[in-house]
């Protein structure tokens, strides 16, 4: 087994060095399933995204197929992105990090793999269900109940062994990453079961549904994403930049502020609910900035407060870009929450742009960094096309900027024009078309990036199994020759 050349292996005390290959072996199968499936879902999500995006320029595009209508393709895209890629990859990385930090092999790798397969089955059923018109109608929770059940069981099967692994850990030290990861593992089943039970199984009445759906979205897309991605950043960034994490306690402060306040945000001022709900939500969004400031300070100090830390290190660049998007998105969220009720900015293109900035610019970018780091270590060989990693970073960065910035500006312009009621609505929405055209180019670039990503991951895995097969074949033939020689 050749060591990856680009980065050094994660440092493990000498006394436990013998377990490194053991840990890698225990994680290999389930995590390869998680990561390759995640990369595949990302490509699928972006095919949907591109179809949805083109429909704005030409409404007749694929309009005669019910399953390809915008209102089905769009949720199919978001669900593939969130459940197919984000949560799946996040869960895989969490398991790997817990095994590494605890210097303990992942227990029950077959059950974890089974969980990963159930998860993927669930997401597949869910996305097909959405395309067939079975969507639940709740944003970010569109997958119908039968798919949600599979997804939930799959998650529990995998996450449980992460927690057991933490209990059995040989390296007893608890670092900030542990706090973030264990909380994330616990967080998802609670919010997912609450949302599914109260919205699908025993639906609550009226707008209470909308409030619960907002609460769920916020807890998944802001709290869960932040917990997992920041855990990765606090672990990986010091490794990649060969510096110590600036402050353990600042990271813990960020953790507390995140879990206490971030879950309250996300309910727009325009919502037809009693006023205390958006008011509390605004307070939550603003107090969450405490966490954001702590993260920004900590990451900045850790990286030496200069972009030099990321020079020639595309993985560190992915992480730093992600943290920048995290800070920017949180500032914008607090900004819109503080605006008065007459602001309907969230109902313009500003809203989707902000959500992409958080989901893609922050979480997916950090995930790219993590998966590029972990994958070569899992299989013990380097990427077949290391240059694609760097190319992917640049193409993803340009893609995200082209996707998000024009829509943010277009949304601001739209809001400004809509304040004047004499402007016909149709003209205002038409005036956003140039911004949409640029964002479609961004989508296209991101799709190319995803293809690079998938190619590298699949190439790496195939290379690994081909080498194993070749070794096994050589072993077998050698044995055959030996026995043949013995007989002769």
């Amino acid at each position: 087994m050749t060591a990856p050349s680009a980065q050094s292996l994660p440092s493990v005390p000498a006394s436990q060095a013998s377990t490194v290959s053991e840990i890698d072996f225990s994680c290999r199968l389930p995590l390869l399933v998680f990561f390759i499936s995640a990369a595949k879902w990302l490509v699928i999500a972006w095919v949907f995204e591109l179809i949805a995006s083109i429909k704005f320029h030409s409404p007749n595009f694929l309009a005669d197929y019910a399953w390809l209508t915008y209102g089905r393709v769009h949720p199919a895209c978001t669900n593939s992105l969130i459940y197919g890629f984000a949560v799946q990859a996040g869960l895989g990385v969490a398991l790997w990090l817990l095994a590494q930090l605890g210097a303990t092999p992942l227990p029950q790798r077959w059950l974890v793999t089974f969980g990963a397969i159930l998860w993927n089955l669930g997401v597949t059923l869910g996305v097909v269900g959405i395309l067939l018109g079975d969507s639940t109608g709740f944003t970010h929770l569109e997958m119908p109940g039968y798919a949600a059940t599979l997804v939930f069981i799959g998650y529990l099967l995998a996450a449980l062994w992460g927690v057991v692994n933490f209990r059995q850990r040989r390296e007893r030290k608890v670092v900030a990453t542990h706090w973030f990861l264990l909380t994330a593992l616990f967080w998802f089943p609670w919010i997912y079961s609450t949302a599914n039970l109260l919205l699908l199984t025993f639906p609550v009445r009226g707008v209470a549904q909308a409030v619960i759906a907002w609460w769920y979205s916020q807890n998944l897309l802001v709290v869960w994403f932040s917990l997992v991605a920041l855990a990765i950043v606090f672990y990986l960034l010091p490794k990649l930049t060969q510096r110590e994490l600036h402050s353990h306690y600042l990271a813990l402060f960020a953790y507390w502020m995140l879990i206490l306040f971030a879950g309250w945000g996300g309910i727009p001022n325009s919502a037809p609910v009693p006023v205390w709900i958006p008011t509390l939500s605004t307070i939550g969004s603003v107090l969450f900035l405490l966490s954001v400031i702590a993260v920004a300070l900590n990451v900045c100090e850790t990286a030496g407060c200069s972009l030099k830390a990321a020079r020639g290190k595309p993985l560190a660049a992915f992480l730093l870009f992600g943290v920048a998007a995290f800070v920017f998105a949180a500032l914008l969220r607090a900004g819109i929450a503080l605006l008065d009720t007459d602001q309907t900015l969230q109902l313009t293109w500003f809203g989707p742009a902000l959500s992409q900035l958080n989901c893609y610019g922050f979480f997916v970018m950090v995930m790219f960094g993590a998966l590029y780091f972990i994958m070569p270590r899992l299989v013990g060989i380097d990427f077949p096309w290391p240059k694609l990693v760097r190319a992917h970073f640049w193409i993803a960065t340009i893609g995200v900027v082209l996707l998000v910035v024009p829509l943010l500006l277009g949304g601001l312009m739209e809001e400004f024009k809509l304040q004047n009621a004499s402007q016909p609505f149709l003209l205002v929405t038409r005036s956003t078309l140039p911004f949409l055209r640029v964002s479609t180019i961004g989508d296209l670039l991101l799709l190319i990036g995803h293809l690079f990503f998938l190619t590298n991951l699949v190439g790496l895995t195939l290379g690994f199994y081909r080498a194993r097969a070749a070794a096994a074949y050589a072993q077998l033939t050698a044995d055959l020759f030996k026995t043949a020689g013995a007989k002769a």
Partner: protein
């Protein structure tokens, strides 16, 4: 030190807080909302949508209409207009009061004011100014009333006469408020466009009804059928450039009919306690609205309830 239990408690405590705040409490407050009465008419509101419209809600959900259309009217505040409903017996005193109010207008204009009532005396007042003015006018034995007018760009765009509130949705499942407006808000589309056939034509070919519309056509909700003997009465009437070849007609599938029925049923415009608005009927029925005290008390509490009342 084994920090595992502590981490678990931290996560449990903080998630329980937001669960209590944004799941349990809204359920106790909004989840138990019952039908209310319109103010001042006292009719039950909302009423459940007809069965076909409820099916249409399912079509709306399945095809993700809510990704481009919101159902929430935003209101920036409320202003008060003062309406004169009855000149009363002491018209000379009323004239003096009106002259003080509007010194720039001529006497004849003030006299015109008293014919063809009800008429608006002043617009865009705050609640206090309006009730002072009503007091002044009522002291002359005339009868004046406060007319509540919600304001905001959605309302001046004609999308609704008041903001949408939780009560508007108590019978809907799922509630799809929408988070993005690619197309116009639909909270009151049944008021604006009450003809189901218009909606069918628009669903079949949006640009036939709204030039430059960005909405995709939903032809999969319709079927083309050969005309047997006579045209079906349900066939969609289309402009010649969109009509099928002679001998064929376009019929809405049941989904399209249901969706159109749902769209026509979208009318969140009744005046209710939590979203007060005066509708034209109110000042015309002085029996229910005329006593200034009564009018003021019916407006008082709701006005303080409105989130951004100016």
């Amino acid at each position: 030190m084994n920090l595992g239990p502590l981490i678990f408690l931290a996560a449990f405590f903080s998630l329980a807080c937001s669960w209590f705040g944004f799941v349990l409490t809204p359920q106790l407050q909004i989840g138990r909302l019952e039908q209310t009465n319109t103010v001042p008419a006292g009719a039950l509101y909302p009423v459940m949508r007809p069965g076909l419209a409820r099916q249409g809600l399912g079509v709306y959900r399945a095809n993700g209409c809510a990704y481009c259309h919101s159902q929430q009217i935003v209101q920036t505040g409320t202003v008060c207009d003062v309406i004169l409903t009855d000149p009363g017996t002491n018209q000379a005193a009323l004239l003096v009061a009106l002259r003080q109010l509007r010194p720039l207008l001529s006497e004849t204009e003030d006299k015109e004011m008293m014919t063809g009532l009800p008429k608006t005396v002043r617009q865009g007042l705050s609640k206090e100014e309006a009730s002072d003015l009503v007091k002044t006018l009522n002291s002359t034995s005339a009868k004046a009333a406060i007319w509540i007018v919600p304001i905001g760009s959605d309302i001046s765009r004609g999308w609704g006469i008041r903001r949408t509130v939780a009560e508007d949705f108590i019978f809907d499942y799922p509630v799809m408020l929408g988070s993005h407006r690619v197309g116009p808000d639909l909270a009151n589309v049944g008021v604006r466009l009450s003809d189901a056939n218009w909606h069918l034509r628009h669903l079949y070919a949006p640009r036939s009804e709204a030039k430059d519309s960005a909405m995709p056509p939903y032809r999969f909700l319709f079927e083309k059928r050969r005309i047997e003997k006579t045209r079906s009465p349900e066939a969609v009437v289309l402009p010649p450039e969109l009509a099928p070849e002679p001998g064929y007609e376009i019929l809405p599938k049941p989904e399209a009919t249901a969706l159109a029925a749902y769209l026509v049923s979208l009318r969140a415009n009744e005046p209710i306690f939590s979203a007060p608005v005066s509708v034209a009927a109110a000042p015309l029925a002085p029996d229910t609205n005329a006593p200034a005290g009564g009018a003021a008390s019916s407006t008082n509490a709701p006005l303080t309830n409105a989130p951004a009342a100016k």
